[in-house]
């Protein structure tokens, strides 16, 4: 297994900059998830690590060795593609054994290794089938098997679960995580699905428009997002934002949209400034109007079975509150809202960066 370092990695297509000065250090045996919206450059970055895409600037190191000019054949990485990329004219066994065949392993050796991988992935009964005769989940497992069979230095996953239905995706997520635990293999996993990122990663790299926005453990990112993008990207339903003004010494926030001022236990010496305040839907409570510092008007109530999402207007903003209580609320009803100021995230209105950690 190996560590992977990206140092000042950039990618340009002509005048278009796809990736700009990306610096990520991935430790040995770590499971790192690259997450971001479509077109943020995460897949391009993965392809650059794999050697499928040349890099315009910077350095990629695997185990300290610079691999910028090594072809994908020589990097000893394995990749699972979004489309699985199984060889259609080969059976499951031939697909899994292909990397070993290329290395010139003996037929007996290949058979042994394929059998070992097939038993790990529960593919024993499917070894003679061609990809067209396999279901989505089975194809996914064959693709995994082909990656595992040669014990590479690291695994690269390019949105491997995005073609599966929700139930199977959840199942495969658990399987992949267990597999990582047993193999202890360095893994880089690309997804646009924040649930996958949150549940699978040791560390998450949030990317946007070719730049790294924040790197950290899932809970660090959820609890202390570095900017409005990360705050808005992670968490479902999306975090609620409101524009306001922070008083000197961060004593309180006055909101622009007719929301009541909010007292904070200001301890820092931060100057008065315009801010964007964010609070997660899960951190707001619906209470009686007379005891609440904030008030909202109910627009819509969504019952998902377990949780209830209440969409309200607070001042001029649209907020969502997620609660386990099955409130019986009517459209247009006024409710009180309460939350612990410790759960309030404050970002500079000009830079969008977090101002109180």
């Amino acid at each position: 297994m190996a560590s992977i370092d990206l140092v000042g990695v950039s990618k340009q297509f002509g005048a278009l900059s796809i990736l700009d000065d990306v610096n990520i250090s991935i430790g040995d045996r770590e499971f790192v998830v690259l997450v971001g919206p479509s077109g943020c450059g995460k897949s391009t970055l993965l392809r650059m690590i794999a050697g499928l895409e040349p890099i315009s600037d910077g350095m990629i190191r695997i185990d300290g060795e610079v691999v910028n000019h090594l072809g994908p054949q020589k990097r000893d990485l394995a990749m699972v593609f979004q489309t699985y990329a199984l060889y259609p004219h080969m059976t499951t066994a031939q697909n899994i054994g292909f990397p070993l065949k290329l290395r010139g392993s003996s037929p007996e050796q290949i058979e042994r290794s394929v059998a070992r991988v097939a038993s790990t992935l529960h593919l024993e009964t499917l070894l003679d089938r061609q990809p067209r005769a396999l279901s989505g989940g089975q194809r996914q497992r064959v693709a995994m098997g082909r990656a595992m069979v040669r014990e590479p230095r690291a695994f690269l996953f390019d949105e491997p679960l995005s073609n599966l239905d929700a139930k199977l995706r959840h199942h495969m997520r658990i399987e992949l995580r267990q597999l990582h635990k047993s193999l202890r293999a360095t893994s880089i996993y690309v997804t646009h699905d924040q649930i996958e990122a949150m549940t699978m990663a040791d560390r998450i790299v949030v990317m946007n428009r070719g730049k790294v926005e924040q790197i950290g453990t899932p809970l660090e990112l959820f609890d202390r997002p570095a900017n409005t993008f990360v705050a808005g990207f992670l968490g479902s339903p999306t975090i609620n934002f409101a524009k306001g003004r922070l008083s000197a010494g961060s004593k309180d926030v006055t909101f622009d949209d007719g929301i009541y001022p909010l007292a904070l236990n200001g301890t820092s010496d931060i100057a008065a400034q315009d801010v964007i305040a964010g609070v997660r839907p899960q951190h707001i409570e619906i209470v009686a109007t007379d005891v609440a510092p904030l008030k909202g008007t109910v627009m819509l109530v969504e019952h998902t079975g377990c949780e209830t999402n209440v969409i309200l207007t607070v001042g001029d903003c649209e907020w969502t509150v997620q609660t386990l209580n099955r409130h019986r609320l009517n459209q247009g009803e006024q409710v009180g809202l309460k939350f612990d100021p410790a759960h309030l995230h404050l970002f500079s209105a000009s830079s969008q960066e977090r101002i109180i950690w």
């Binding site: 054949q73 990329a85 004219h89």
Partner: protein, 275 residues
Amino acid sequence: MSKARKSVLCWAALSPFLIVVLFPYLTMLSTALKQKDEIFTFHRSWLPREFYLGNFVELFVDRNFGRALVNSLTISVGATLLSLAVAIPAAYALTRMRVPGNSALTNYLLITQMISPIVLIIGLFRMFAYFGLINSLMSVIIAHSAFFMAFAVWMLKSYFATIPKDLEEAAWIDGASRFSAFVRIFLPLCLPGVVVTAIFTFVNSWNEYAMSLTLLRDVSQQTAPVQIAFLTGTLYQIEWHLIMAATLIASVPVAVVFASIQRYLIGGMSLGGVK
């Protein structure tokens, strides 16, 4: 509408075309099996008086049609192999690599298809004469490959573009060199496209007349279409019984080629590999 009824209606709608296709073939067969005096009679019959194979014997023994067939076969196979040998790498490069002037080159190939070979035939003759290749089957193989290659590149290019790039990339990551991925992964998946292209090139080359006539001056070098044409031009009569026997035989290799490789035409080879 039930499936059977739909199928009957489809066949009924297609039957006029079936006649168009079958009529010449049946005429050919019927005439080829008749004796010379049976062909022009007042009471025409589809069936010959007796099952007469003398026309074929005459064709092979007296007129040396077998040699013409061998010539045609040599040229067609040669031209097919040569044009595929060049067109496959060319089409691969045009679909998978950054080739400077890619679209200009592709359009240029298309333009060459708009020029009739007959326009260039004097130039071709002079060129092959300069290289001393007149009366050599090689000259026709080269000329045919050159003419049918543009079409082959176009056809292969459009087929190659349907093969997902992920498959080759997966092979590279698995440790295959570019060439090895091309041979082990890409080509097997392209087989239907290659086969269709091969058939087209073979049939085109088999039927080609003008270039073969011009470049092969010696009777012993004549191809089947040229020799058949010569049968119509004998001094005092047109020997329909021989012409029909010859055309019947000439159509056999094409039918055999189609029948023997039609299983490759069944697409869907790449089905299931991705998604």
